[in-house]
Amino acid sequence: MTWNFLEQDPSAATYDAIVVGSGATGGWAAKHLAEAGVKVALLEAGRAVSPTEFTEHTPAYKLKYRDHSPEILRTRPIQKQCYACMEYNYEWFVNDLENPYSTPPDKPFTWQRLRVLGGRSLVWGRQSYRMSDNDFKAASRDGYGDNWPISYADLSPYYDIVEKYVGITGAAEGNEMLPDGQFLPPMKMSCGEVLLRERVKAKFGRTVTIGRAAVLTQNHNGRSACHYCGPCERGCRTFSYFSSPFTTVADAQNSGNCTLITNAVVSHVNMDNAQNKANGVTYVDRLTRQVKEVRGKSVILCAQALESTRILLNSSTREYSKGLANSSGALGHYLMDHVVGGGASGNLPNMKERPDANEPQRPNGIYIPRFRNTPSSKRHSQFIRGYGYQGSGGAAFNFGAEGYGTSFKGAVKEGVYSVGLGAFGESLARWDNYIEIDNNLKDAWGIPALRISMTHGDNETALMDDAASQAAEMLEAAGARDIKVQARVEMPGMAIHELGTARMGNDPKKSVLNAFNQTHDVKNLFVMDGASFVSSACQNPTLSMMAVTVRACTHLVERFKGGEV
C-alpha cells in the first residue's frame, strides 16, 4: 500500500508502546503499561465518549420512534442485528456503509462492532467466566486441534487481578468446568430460577448458578453499586458495569504516561526492515482523512480479533508478503465465534407472581456450565466439546396474549411466568474458517477491507441439537408447560464472540504468537486481544481476553526493565 501526503505526528514523540484499540483489552494494556512507567500512546478509531450521552434513564416514549426506529437500517443494516444496537445508541456502532466487508455468497457473517472510546465494552453483555484446563488442554483430551501454550495455572493469577479490579458478581460453585473466581456478592435468583436450580440438580446433577457478571453488587474501586435500572447497553451514570473508558483508560491517563489519540483509524504497522522491528503505526484521521504516523518501540494490537489481524494483513512488506508476522501462514485462519441458536423456553404456571413495572431490573441471568464431555461424564457419541446456557425466569407482561379489546388489555397486565435457556457452544478452530483482504473493497478511509469466510460445521450443529433437547428436558423437570424448542444454528458472528485469526502456540510454523502474545516473527509486535485464542471454549470470552492481556503486559514490562525492547 502506498500513502501520499504522509506526515509525522506533530508531537513527533517516540512512545515506548503503541496500543491500538481502547476496548476491554486495549484499556488493560494501556493501564498496565502506563502504570508501570511505560510511555504509551493509546489509539482509538472512534471519538471520545462522555457520561452526558448515556440514555439508560430515558423512557422509550421520549424517542421519536419509541426505540423502534426504522431509520437505523439505512446506515446500520448489519449492526441492527445486534440486540444492543438501538435508537438510543446506534451512533456508537459503526456505520456499515463506511465500514464494509465481504463474504462468499453462501457464507454469511454478521460483524457487529463499535468505534468509540471503549469499543464494545460500552455495550457488552458483561457475562464473565473463567476457562479451565479442560479448555486450555482440550486437544489432549479429545485429540482435536491444539492445546494452548498456557495452562490454567499460568492464567489464574491474572484472572484474580482482573476480577478484583473489574468487580465480578457471582457465586462459587466448585464446578470442574468453570473455576470460581474473586466474586462480589451474587445477585439473587427469581423463584422460577430457584425451582429450576433445585429440580435440575436433583434430576440431572447439573448446576444452575446465578450469572457471573461485570456488574457491581456493592460499591467497588470508586464506582457505585448497581441501581438495577436495567439497560446497561445505553451507558451507566453510576459506572456500575465495567467499561474501559471510565476505568482502565482513565487510570492509564491519570498515570501521566498515556497519550490518548482518538479518531485514529490505524491502517498498518510500520517496519524497520533492516532490524526486523516494528517502529510505529500509520493511521488516517477519521474526521480530516489526513494520514499520520506514530512512532513507538513496540506495537500492541488490541483492535478486536478481526481488526487486529486486518491491520497485520494490510502491513505486508517484501519480507512478509502474505501479511506481517505471517511466516507460519496461519494469520487470518482459525476464526471462531460461539455457536448459538439452540435452546428452549416455556411457562411455569405454578408461579403466581405477577409482572411489576417497578420491579428492579436485574442486569444478569442464570448460567448452566458445560456438562457434556467433562472429566466426570461419558464421552458424547455425537460431538466433542460442549456448551453452556444463559437464561432467565420471571414474570413478564404478556404482550403476546390472544384476542383484543378489554380482555387483551387485562391479559397483558396479568402477565406470564416464563423461563428460557439459550446455549453458547464451542466453535471448533478450523483452518478453513478464515479472513483475508478483499482487494476490491476499501473502507471510507481507503483502507482495504476484509473478506470473511466462516461456517459452523457438523460438530456445532450437533451441539445445538443436543442443547435444544437438553434445555427442553430441564425445563420440563421444573414443571414448565408450552415448551418451545429451538434447534437452530445462527449465522456466524451472532454470538459476537469472534476469536482466533492470530493464534498463540509454541510452534512458530503453526501459530502467529508465542505464549506471551508476542509475534514469533517480529519481537516487538504483539496481539493481545481475542485474535490470540487457540480454541474458543464455550464461556463468554472477555474475562479471559483481559486476563491474557494483563499476563502478556506483565511479561512485556519485565522485558522493558531488562532493556530487551
Binding site: Y61, Y88, C191, H227, C229, Q253, L260, N350, A357, P360
Partner: protein, 209 residues
C-alpha cells in the same frame, strides 16, 4: 416508610452522587470532543414525546381513509377502560410516523393489512370497516382473532390469512400503545429508574413445587 422505599431512597442518593463523574473521567473525555451529529437524538437529550400531540397534525404516509380506519381499529384492539386506550395514546399518529420512514416492503404489508380488513368488511357488511357499526366491526375482528374457534396460542397450526393480517395490525398497535407514555402508565410504571436492589426469591429452600 417500607423497607423497599428506604432502599430505593438509598440507591437514588448514591446514584445522584455518582452523576458527577470522577475527575479522572472528566479528564478522559476532555480530549476530542464529539460533533453533535455523532450523537443520537436520545444521546443529545431530545424529548420527542410531545411531537405527535401537536395541533394541526397531518399524516405523513397514510391517507385520510387509512388513518380513520386505523383509529377505529386501534380503539377496538386496545379500548379505553378505566385507563386510556390506543386512541387516546394517538397510536395512529405514531404508526404513521414509523411507516413514513419504513421500508417499502413494510409499508406495502401494512396497507395490505388494512385493505384486507376493508375487503372483508365490504364482503360481509357492504361497507368499508370504518363505516360499519361497532357491533359489526367487533364481529369481524372476532372472526379474525379466533379463526375456527382457535387462536394458535393453544398449539394448533393457524393458516388463516385473516388471522395473520389481524396479528400484524395488532402487533403494530400494541408496540405503539405500550411504548407510549400512556402505555407505560397502563403497565403501572411509577416513573422512577432505580428500584433496586433486586431481591429475587425470598422463600425457604425447597418451597417451590
Amino acid at each position: 416508610m417500607k423497607r423497599r422505599d428506604l432502599l430505593r431512597a438509598g440507591v437514588l442518593t448514591g446514584a445522584v452522587a455518582a452523576l458527577q463523574p470522577p475527575r479522572s473521567i472528566a479528564h478522559a473525555t476532555a480530549q476530542g470532543s464529539s460533533a453533535p451529529s455523532e450523537l443520537t437524538p436520545a444521546q443529545r437529550g431530545i424529548d420527542a414525546s410531545k411531537d405527535l400531540g401537536a395541533p394541526g397534525w397531518k399524516p405523513l404516509f397514510l391517507d385520510e381513509h387509512q388513518n380513520e380506519t386505523l383509529i377505529a381499529l386501534s380503539d377496538l384492539i386496545i379500548p379505553a377502560t378505566d385507563t386510556p386506550g390506543a386512541k387516546d395514546a394517538l397510536v395512529n399518529r405514531y404508526i404513521d410516523l414509523v411507516l413514513a420512514a419504513d421500508t417499502h416492503e413494510n409499508q406495502k404489508s401494512f396497507l395490505n393489512n388494512l385493505a384486507y380488513l376493508d375487503g372483508e368488511s365490504i364482503r360481509r357488511y357492504k361497507a368499508a370497516f370504518r363505516y360499519v357499526s361497532r357491533e359489526d366491526q367487533d364481529d369481524l375482528l372476532h372472526g379474525l382473532a379466533y379463526p375456527n374457534g382457535g387462536s394458535g396460542w393453544t398449539g394448533e397450526a393457524v393458516t388463516d390469512p385473516g388471522h395473520t393480517h389481524f396479528e400484524q395490525l395488532k402487533t403494530r398497535i400494541g408496540v405503539a400503545y405500550y411504548n407510549s407514555q400512556i402505555g407505560t402508565r397502563e403497565l403501572g410504571w411509577d416513573g422512577a429508574f432505580a428500584h433496586g436492589p433486586y431481591e429475587g426469591c425470598t422463600h425457604p429452600e425447597g418451597n417451590h413445587k
